[in-house]
Amino acid sequence: MMQVAIRGLWGRKLRTVLTALSIVLGTAMITGTFILRDQINNAFSDIFHESNKGIDVVLSKKTAFTSDNGTTAGPLPEAVIATAKSADGVDKVEGQIQATGSIVIDGKYVTGSGGAPNLVFSYVTEPFSNSQFISGGPPTDNTVAINQKLANDEHLQTGDRVKLATDTGVVPVTISGVFKLAGVSSIGGATLVVPTFHNAQQWYDRVGKTSVVYLSAQQGVSPAELKQNVEAVVSNDVKVQTGLENADQQTNDVEGATSFLTYILLAFAGAAVFVGLFIIFNTYSITVAQRMREFAMLRTLGASRRQVMRSVLLEAALMGLVASLIGIGFGILLAIGLNALFKAVGVDLPTAALTIPIVWSVLLPLGVGLGAALVASVAPAVKATRVPPIAALREGFTLPRGVLAPYIPYIGIAGAVLGVGVIAFAIRAGGGGSRVLLTMAAGAIIAFLGMSMLSQLLIVPIAGALGAVLEVVLRVSRFLGLIRDRIPVLGPLVRRVAYGLTLGYVWVGIITALVLLSILRGGLSTGSVIGAAVVLAIGGILFSVLWRRRLREWPWDASSPTAGVLARENTSRNPNRTAVTSAALMIGVALIVFVAVFVNGFKESFLGAIDRSITSDMIIQGQSFQTIPAPVVNAAAKVPGVATASGIQFADAKIGNGGIDTVNGVDPTTFSNVYRFDWLKGGSDELLRNLTPDEALIEEQFAKSHDLSPGETFNVTSIDGNKLHLTVHGEYKDPSLMTGFIIPSSTLNTFSPGSKDPQIVLVSFDQGPAGAQAERSIRQALNSFPAAKVQTNAEYKKDAENFVNGLLQFLYVLLAMCLIISLIGIVNTLALSVFERTREIGMLRAVGMTRRQLRRVIRYESTITAIIGGILGIAVGLVFGWIVAQGLSDQGLVFVVPYSQLVGFLIVATLFGILAAILPARRAAKLNVLEALQYE
């Protein structure tokens, strides 16, 4: 049976390759993701362990909880350095200031590459230093050392005079030297500026403070012993770690950040494999139907049912195995390529040797690939066992329908409803986290499977409707063709241009590219439609001039509506097959539509909230999502023409005994001048102006989840471990911008000193002429704080929109893989159908169907299938999006239908259908009429 299986695969090479491709892509992505994850994590681990090498013990502020939003504890008092020095076994002690800031060149703040942070770490001497100077040396007063990549990118050399953005304004500094850090020019693209400890204290508002303290042990004292000794002398709000513990913690923090990306990539790999299941299932179903005679013959020769089944499963398993192995190979190449790409865009990681984690990047994808092939081929294999030996002898034997067959659409309806229910339930349960996401994914899988079963019922009506539209189009084009041929003067010219325009695939390709591009840029616009028309017109004329030779074939036979009828009937004659084929596309489109609905809804709710709530004229935010130096608020307020400048600080805090939420710190006296609250339960701006240090205003969701009403009290703990007992002063609704609760910023500054810098500063202008000048004045005034990005509300919104669009593009690109796999599925099914209908094609050609007409029929068939997939996908995606938007509506998510993008998706699906038909249509047209007629 093994031999039969191998020969079977070999004999159907194209089909095997097309089927295997989906597994290859999915497994390649799994392998690549895990290798990349390991490579990044190992690289960071190497860096952190390398840079902690000379450090035996590290002191930092103890944290009460871990924050996912970057809330950090405040600095330690500088006195800790002296205290630590007094511990037994200490050799050297040194403090380090850690802050954010960067070099300013020509008034421009230099940002890190790829959104990496801009760090300022004060200099530490041996043995704590982890930098190797490649020119110059350590910083002295008013000089700074910079990392090699920053120097290279900005063409800076030792001795150059530059400016540094600090919390107190821009200060002139001289570059003392350029260094590598633990062997690399930059850590993941971050910039690093190194001033002296003293300078850093002054510049970054840390006078009398230190961020961390490093200690080395005397000879004969182990780091663990030193740790114990130090713990005995310092106060208990100081965290004491050995250098190794610190390195491990830093590594863990980074792994936490990269694991998010890993999960996203794996989710897409999973989606690709899931789409692949449909393709494998369809291919094997069709193949089994076509090979009935072969199975019957094997049965007459004495093969048992079990053997027949095994031969099919074995064939699938072999295919899955080989495909996963190839996929793993591609995955390794992918990881190498991506690493090179990271290097090219400046995200420099140390060249950690390529390690291939066997379990995750070899065994897992192998299991997934093999499993997918087997799972998808079980049903066809069972079907093969039902072929009786007599089928070998009878022409046109058809298998009786299975017992379950009539119920499949109803099972499908149940599945779709159940799946949607599971998603709704997961959303309702809420709380975020991986369990909710996994439940949602399970719901989506059930819903997709259900939809693919129930869509059998929808194929015939949708194909009928599409066929009717197609028929009208064909009739119109035939009518136009008749007119064209009747006008002698215009004839040749029009023909020529018409020919250029109908030069099929070239234009399909160009239009596809244009539509994809405009979707990536946020949707179809009138501009892109006009652009496409212009490109088509110019291209049409060009081609007609350049390719005159082909014109001799004119006039072509009229486009006959019959081609449309045949195509429609072909898609309807095997509804299951069409259903499964279009289901593959449906999944990809549904995921894309869902992402589009969700992300656009998020964007709309965010932008809407900005419009509703922010009444200021300008918005200031930090560079690279960093905070804004606190003095910016006062600097902005002093600008002539500015009425109010008021900042918002964010921090995470632990509520009561559990749960982490956001604390917003604002200036109660000024904030209501720049922000419009949606007050509940009798709240008012007056209430905010009267807010005292031990009072809080709470957001509706916060009130609900902690069951609080005005007048009641609650406890909060900051990341530094400080506690507050707050009385609820009022309630407001703002699920997008100011979730959690609001306290006066003065309270927040002592409660969570690491969050003393605002994230956003809102600025409103005076009425009258001074106000009109204010925009320019404020930009000028804040030149001394280049870390602050000054924008009008419109600019700020545009920024936010661009960020969201960037996110969408990233997701679209990943989802495109699902679409490509489903495209392969259409090609495969069409090719198999063509093969199955060989004799029919022979007859059609014999009774007068031209090759062009035949290609057209197949192209239309493919297009109808693709559009069905597109329509169903859009419907399912909208349903998913709607459910999620409903579930999250109290968190401000709105349901937005991105119409222009949906139209774009439908066009893409149509064009995919046309492209998928190229090969099968060519194959069908090439068939020799006579051989096709005699084909059995």
């Binding site: 019959t562 072909n570 007068g848 007409q853 007629l933």
Partner: protein, 246 residues
Amino acid sequence: MNATATAVVSARDVTRRYGEGDAAVDALRGVTLDIVPGQFAAVMGPSGSGKSTLMHILAGLDKPTTGVVEIAGTDITNLSDSRLTLLRRHQVGFIFQFFNLLPMLTAEENILLPLRLAGETVDRTWANEIIDQVGLSDRRKHRPSELSGGQQQRVAIARALASRPAVLFADEPTGNLDSTTSGEILNLLRTMVTTHGQTMVMVTHDANAAAMADRVLFLADGEIVRDQGRSEASEVLAAMAEVSAL
């Protein structure tokens, strides 16, 4: 050469060789033949005699290795595929042994398929007339799977006639039918020739079928070995025996 001008189908010194070198097989070894308008010709011969090859070549489905074939006055030997297709569409009708109907179309849609492919406006009276004549008036909306073998072949006949072809080729039209149904189908074909003057070439094994024809050609080893006029079934059988013995 005058005969050629009036013939619907004519072949001059047609040979057909399959394969090359030692494996080459000569299916036809120089066939010359004219089919005149209104003639019903039957082609007979033992298996491997080349009768199917001859029909395929006369119908423009296959190309001769040497020689010339004309259909309705057009030399088809050097036509491009699309011209040949158009010629088949307008001048040639086909009836196959296995009916070859499209399963998803109704009887009527199958019949009108060639006209629709040509993008022609369907002549309703003509269509109704042939559907009546083949006796399918009450079966128009049925799909092939709902029709008996004889009825399916009637659909095929109507389909072949719909475009009023210059010549109709039938390849073993009764090969897949029982004897009663065969008789009905043959009578129907005969009627088409008699009443409409339809030119017809039929390849068959069946002496009874050949007995319906105006002319019976016998092929053996790729050559026409006998060409006789209207014959009784017994005469055909005798001739076949003779030919096979050659």
